[in-house]
Assembly symmetry: D2
Homo-oligomer: 263 residues x 4
């Protein structure tokens, strides 16, 4: 399917504030970006760099006053996310070097504390894809998905205690559980068609059967329509905007996802 | 100024052919890309990767038949390229690690053979920016710029012998001369407003006074209106398209650069 | 001073176990490694890779039975760690791209939760080096250094609650406090001359005045004699050995640091 | 086999001269470095960085006067280099991203000019390993190996004209021929047991059957005993020392390779 996705952010800045933005969807095996718009207003000088995870990040110094960021993309994405029942675990010694970092515990995914729970959840499963699917299902039944219920990231341990969370929280717990089984897992931030209520979204990917597969416990079943914008170990790595100095909450934040090929 | 640049390439492919494309202008200190279009037709699966020089490269397997690539960008660029008379040479021991590679000889820039000529050209100049400017002027007077006169890259030695060349050739000789003076120099491929005849363009940058400065011996004086698309050691690193297998010359190749803010 | 440092680890492995080792001190601005020994026994095949922080990591599959790792280095290091009172804060917009990751919260350094405490500790200080020094001093007085008191890493929040910790714990809290002030901070694992009791050590570095400076709240005053082995965001990034599968605690673990130039 | 390899370089420096050194053998799939010595005298401050090809490079500013560099390593290497008759060509679309750069022409390997010759040499061969073996054999018969006959690198075209060369020259021509067939090929600099006359050595590797294989047309048959020190596109990338400023030829240059396990 062809999607047009956009994100509009408006800030009221008190004092000149450095921002790092991570809002550019890139073409890849799963998606093709055929059209992209990226406006910042006022149009201050920006520097783009590539972080350790391959994300394109823009550094700007936002001047005081109204500061807006608008990104839009037209993307061709799959109608269905790939599944691979029984795809095997990749033994640690065979995991590619650049994927090893997704095995380590990270800020919001304390995988070093979830070994027992992960074992219990996946006890009767074949090692690999089926374990991750069992984790995804366990999340669906044990953690209540409450979009909009939280303003800042909490960690997998906290999510597990609260038994509820936003998309980011479910992803964090899923990632922590996977890593505790030596399955590389990473966070993805992006857009999802027909997400309700519409907003930026977060899900996770697990590396089994020698590639990444998408998992999303916030949705009742596996579907397509995802546009990935940024990848990282957890939410600490992939803020769509990261500001430094006095906090400035966006005074406007609009996300739109439209299907183009059915218009 | 605001420019809209586009490049349209059409191939008639005999057998499925792997391509690597390098056609995406990126935002940076010198330019802001506010809008981008990138279409390949038929819309086969593409994988994007980042090469050692920070370029975004797309890998596609073009099927047989007509295959077209269309990229378009709207960019805000400077009206004037920065100049810095007397900016000093950066001593080798102070050149940043990731810039050292631009000191080495490369495929089309045999800097190991140009020490004497470079010394002669820059004899009375302050070390640094002024040396590069002397090289740029020497190129203007000694190498005739003949756009369209060559189909494939030749090396600095060959350019020096022929005493004429296309934009790429002048850049190669300029780079070789700079490097032989221990001044890092790199090739840039992109667009130039009001280039005549219009086509993709190539120029070079030299690292003096702790940053990169633009030089272009094909133009009679320093101007603005450049949109950089790819950076590398020389033309071997920055083909806008690189195909493997039987050669397929584009049957159509259209480049357009329009000024938007004067429309 | 010239130091000879060594670390000997012996494991009794039950089933073949993948290890990632991070035990090779590298030469750098602060230290020169003139001699290095690295033995694993049995001498199974190893693959070395470089992680995102520049550490040399070795991947081995340890066979069952006794498995030993011995590394030794002779290093020339400074007699005194550099200090720089009043060195200024580097504003976020001027921090080099590759250092930005050291501003983000990480597994054991929840910098997103320490803003108020960091402000309180550094209230009257000049921004930059003096803030970090105030943090180092605050740690010395408020967190009791108890070497050997903990087997596994805990996070800055937990350290702050317990008010005591091992070297790693003090570093984690120091790093979290720095980052909450937008000062890049990273963990260093290595050796320290005359550490008592002798063991591998951990400290932190903060980026102020355009370079990294060493801080170590476990020691009563600034000194020299440090040999850095690995750098990362926190302990999650820099385990000297990381094993996957059933836990195998070393049955032998010997660390020696000798001064060579006084022998 | 276990080898002890060493290289001793002594320079008489007129004015302070920046050097980049590339002399550290690293452990990898093919070799294990168990012991390493690295002395520079006088022991000036050095900075180590990792280049785009994964080599560890040391930057030093050599003071005027005698300046010596001594490196020694004890390495376990294979008794036999791996061979793989019939290993298939890796189609361009399946070559890993980070290996694509070894397909491009480079300073001393003008692969864009060798298509016809490479086709002629490999006409009746299975695509892949056998093509490279045919190239290696062709080099043995058509290019006379004359160790010590050249002081500075010449390019594949020049080697082909002269029909003779040093190890580096044969490697350059071999690499150019491979790349013109879309087979990734790279240069390796290192040590070879029983090389006569003993010196640093150069050979090449080709990527077929999804891994790198060693080829060396200077030797009459495939053997073991190689210790790799540096990898690159050609000799421009892998000088064991690269000096900037007035040329200083080593006044002493001693290379030793001893077999340890037979002592």
């Amino acid at each position: 399917m062809w999607l047009r996705v956009s994100c509009n952010l408006v800030f009221d800045i008190e004092i000149p504030t450095p921002f790092i933005l991570m809002l550019r969807a890139r073409s890849g095996a799963q998606q093709w970006i055929s059209r992209e718009v990226y406006n910042i207003n006022p149009n201050v000088t920006a520097n783009e760099y590539i972080d350790a995870f391959g994300n394109l990040c823009q550094r700007v110094l936002a001047p005081s006053g109204l500061f807006s960021i608008y990104t839009e993309a037209e993307a061709k994405v799959s109608d269905f996310s790939d599944i691979a029942p029984n795809a095997p675990l990749v033994n640690v010694e065979n995991i590619p070097d650049n994927i090893l970092c997704y095995l380590l515990p990270s800020r919001y995914c304390e995988s070093d504390r979830f070994g027992d729970l992960a074992q219990a959840i996946t006890m009767n499963e074949l090692q690999g894809y089926n374990q991750v699917e069992a984790i995804e299902n366990w999340l669906r039944h044990h953690i209540t998905y409450l979009p909009g219920s939280s303003d800042y990231p909490i960690s997998a341990i906290e999510v597990h205690q609260k038994q509820q969370g936003v998309c980011r929280d479910l992803a964090h717990l899923g990632i922590a559980l996977c890593r505790s089984l030596s399955i590389p897992a990473r966070m993805v931030v992006g857009y999802l068609h027909e997400l309700y209520p519409m907003d930026m979204h977060a899900w996770f990917e697990a590396y089994v059967g020698n590639r990444w597969y998408l998992f999303d416990a916030t949705q009742p079943y596996k579907k397509g329509g995802y546009v990935a914008v940024a990848y990282g170990r957890d939410a600490a790595d992939v803020p769509i905007f990261n500001q430094f100095g006095p906090a400035a909450v966006p005074i406007q934040h609009t996300v739109i996802v439209e299907r183009l090929d059915l218009l």
